[in-house]
Symmetry: D2
Amino acid sequence: MADKVRILGIVGSPRHGNTEILVKEALKAAEEVGGVETETLHVAPLKVNPCIACFRCFDEKDSRRGCPSFDDDMEKVYPRLAACDGMIIGSPVYFGGITGELKTFLDRTEPFVRYARTGYGGGLSNKVGGAIAVGYNRNGGQETSIQMIHAYYLVHDMIVVGSGLVETPGCYYGGGAVTYPKRSRIRDAVLEDELGLRSSRGLGRKVAEVAKMVKASHA
Amino acid sequence: MADKVRILGIVGSPRHGNTEILVKEALKAAEEVGGVETETLHVAPLKVNPCIACFRCFDEKDSRRGCPSFDDDMEKVYPRLAACDGMIIGSPVYFGGITGELKTFLDRTEPFVRYARTGYGGGLSNKVGGAIAVGYNRNGGQETSIQMIHAYYLVHDMIVVGSGLVETPGCYYGGGAVTYPKRSRIRDAVLEDELGLRSSRGLGRKVAEVAKMVKASHA
Amino acid sequence: MADKVRILGIVGSPRHGNTEILVKEALKAAEEVGGVETETLHVAPLKVNPCIACFRCFDEKDSRRGCPSFDDDMEKVYPRLAACDGMIIGSPVYFGGITGELKTFLDRTEPFVRYARTGYGGGLSNKVGGAIAVGYNRNGGQETSIQMIHAYYLVHDMIVVGSGLVETPGCYYGGGAVTYPKRSRIRDAVLEDELGLRSSRGLGRKVAEVAKMVKASHA
Amino acid sequence: MADKVRILGIVGSPRHGNTEILVKEALKAAEEVGGVETETLHVAPLKVNPCIACFRCFDEKDSRRGCPSFDDDMEKVYPRLAACDGMIIGSPVYFGGITGELKTFLDRTEPFVRYARTGYGGGLSNKVGGAIAVGYNRNGGQETSIQMIHAYYLVHDMIVVGSGLVETPGCYYGGGAVTYPKRSRIRDAVLEDELGLRSSRGLGRKVAEVAKMVKASHA
């Protein structure tokens, strides 16, 4: 399977629910492109300390791990991030942005920044990234949440794509989903959101297609 | 009527259609607050030259007009901008942002920037601003268009508000409307968009309420 | 002192450093407006559980506390949020956005959303908000971080202001600061950033002035 | 030269000045990657009618031209857009966004949207896009202007990249330049802005590299 491109789906919700459904739909669509393998990572169950801005990953190479300060679940995550060719990050919309838990997780990818001397430094460069956001209010921060994930990708020198050349995707920027008029607490409310599903699937395909292009160009 | 607060609605669409409907709904809601008078300004029919970055409004006071370089329809607009207490700018979503025509119009409010020696310099400070955007795709740039209008307001030191304390406004950031599944070419498609109407009306009320607070504090 | 407006500064950094310096400069400038009292809140030392989307604060009134699920340090924070007239939130830029720790803190203000039956529901409406961001790279996400804080404010129906009618503020949207060419690990690097200090002070004054207007209008 | 990738630089300024300098620096850096040819397009001298939302490009194929409504300078632009592999759009910051003239130009690429029956429909898909913004104020809207250009790219299903794996690029999102403390009216003020030049050059290289990957994958 070494030739397959690998797409990593990251679920930034505290629950198993709408965000997970959408990320998995995106990954399924990515697999249908062919030559793609996927895996899903849930952020909530992980034990992740917030970055303390110690800057030690800029200074030293710890032969045992990526983060010199904390030996927590991120150490199992780093190799998976390094190994993927594409990434799909999904989040429920919390106050117009991604969840704090997800942001804390993303902040701890500091060992991958270009300045890091961790062995991971610059290691997300040219991976392909797509974003999914789901909220109750219809225009309730889905776009601004996606923007925040795109900002993250660009800091890591990743390649950003949207939901692909789908007719009426509902959201061009990524997967954009709405639970209204169902309440957000209903964990599978997005199954009735045709546009949310369509844009998430389009995003999955797009990430896969561009990741394949990038990989093929290195062959 | 001198004691009434004045809310200026600006329609950034080339057509008489959905954007105009929403701006007028917002203005009607503003009037219902009481002590409010409103007027609507259409950008499209105006003859407006693009700003040429001559910087002459930074250097000189032309006793006859606001823009030293062009004697076009903006001269009739400047006093209306100066006289309002609140502003509601609406735009259809074009490529994730406001229309070029509307941006060209806004760019020509350069005589109001803080550095201008036009008599208008700093003249929009503390006016209250709200934004409305309407698109075909559901999460198709409504939020990013509203952001662009908010950026404009903040450069002018204006006070930014969203759609008010409405239950399920659909969009907190401002009026966010969708024409899908009707096609955008249908000029009154938004009449069926309950959330778009609700958030626009909420915005109108909010702009009026905060503009009244600001005015009352100066009384 | 009951008549004074109260401005709450929130420091979203894990350290005592540049963000704290800027928030305190903003608060000092706010106090110089007169009739203003301020306090500072550090997020990092607080024990704050991430929101688990239980939606219980939408359903029930717990007479003892704001969050029905967690009895942590947020309970001491809620009354301070409820009591303030203005808020200044500062964050270092982490991957183009605010820190995960700060976002987790903000997410836990869910008992203040309009739908909450906590006694705090809608309780941040009409409070005035300003934002500060400091990064190493010059255009490294200061604006996108400020946007994220503004999104938070608008969801709470707050009133958003920028850095005021300062000449060359460096950043109109809020306090925008840069540590480069000094390294971000230097905790007082921003003391040499004239534009960062200027925009933060301008922001502090602006939040105070508009908060006073809002309060005066209710007198 | 058919095998070279083609990068199109678009200058959205009314002047020959700082924006043009940065776009040309980016294009020069792109050429240094090798196998790249570039061209520059100035928007200001073109006669471009604003899009009137006639939707005729959705309905009909005009064998003679892309826009059924206007026979203006865009007709010469369309083939150049169709022929490029990558695009670098630069703008001065006007009120936190791109110039109205540039937005009007971009709006008129409607014949390339996925819904168009013009022969150009979907024609910008998978082209690689980068953005440059230059302003007087240091954090004065460079990021929000770049965001607006990225939104445009994503609507066209383009691939978005930032300024590459440069050390201290000053701006990750694209070319981010500042004229302060020199005044913006000085047409070559950015020549002294090391970070602005560095991020623009990095962007040029990045657009070229990724455009080459995409092209190679199709070979």
